[in-house]
Symmetry: C2
Subunit: 158 residues, 2 copies
DNA sequence: GCGTATTTGCATGCACTTTGCACACCATCT
DNA sequence: AGATGGTGTGCAAAGTGCATGCAAATACGC
């Protein structure tokens, strides 16, 4: 685990909020000079504490109005099935996130789609017929209470 | 839904990948001049197609090694309970994402934590005792197969 | 076709970034 | 104490990127 001091934490928190902050703005926020922020930011990028910067697009504005979570149970727990399923997940780019889980479902997928027809297509035409998949249960998101995309860095402060 | 042409889509895709691209880099990627990219980017920001830019922090590097999904069922479906639960979710900043869902669980939470003890604390000390909550089921993430954070913009082309 | 509106590239002044450099601070060893 | 090396800092200057005005080019309506 990498050495990160209070200045770094402040910078990380600020950049989590606004990934395009200039070094000068950062400097004003954390109380260092711009050059120092530049250097520290480079260090954090190089050490991969900052994995990258991404524009956050408004899905609704672009017509992606439907988010759904899909719980998947595999047919059998053979390595072969797991591998095939992984390939499926990576091939379908409507699948935004995929996790393997403890508990009664094997995998949890998050998909972002334009309409119910697309969800139906994914579930009935792509997932259900796939040989590795035994069981599919999908839930549609009714409301997004919270979607912070931010780590609770406050937990790291001392 | 907002008017977005091919240039915009290319820019959005590029900025999804790297939110700190300069206008000049953007220009080279999409085939416009830098000034034009600047103007278009400003437009996309103003029209909230670009909701923001965020640094993507490496959770593991900072000690957040545990991701879990928590399914919640509310005690009763009163508006009062829903409101109380919302407040709870917003207060606890270990809860990164929260959705209300169709299907057999009412809510799905995503938490990012430092260890199992923290998960236990959230589940047993915060969620379970809360008056609005009837049932809690948590699943730990074993593997992250995919975590793209990117919209499949290709669906919008042509 | 002709006029209007929009989009484009270029040029420019301004702001931001990055680098070298000198200095301050701290720990360690003699 | 004093010397030594490492790290972190601000400042200044040179390089780089950004935003805006402007004129040319393109698209659009009638």
């Amino acid at each position: 685990m990498i050495q990160v001091d209070t200045f770094d934490l402040k910078m990380l928190a600020a950049l989590q909020d606004d990934g395009r902050l200039t070094n000068q703005q950062l400097a004003d926020l954390v109380g260092l000079s711009a050059s120092q922020c530049s250097r520290r930011r480079m260090r954090l990028e190089e050490e991969k504490v900052i994995a990258g910067y991404h524009a956050d697009l408004a899905g609704e504005a672009l017509g992606f109005e439907l988010i759904a979570f899909i719980h998947i149970t595999l047919a059998t727990h053979s390595p072969d099935n797991a591998k095939k399923f992984r390939e499926l997940v990576n091939r379908v780019d409507d699948i935004q996130e995929a996790y393997s889980l403890t508990g009664d479902a094997d995998y949890l997928l998050k998909v972002m789609l334009r309409d119910l027809k697309s969800l139906s297509a994914i579930v009935n035409d792509v997932l259900m017929p796939h040989q590795s998949v035994a069981h599919v249960r999908s839930s549609i998101v009714l409301d997004r209470l919270k979607e912070s995309m931010k780590l609770p860095l406050r937990a790291l402060e001392r």
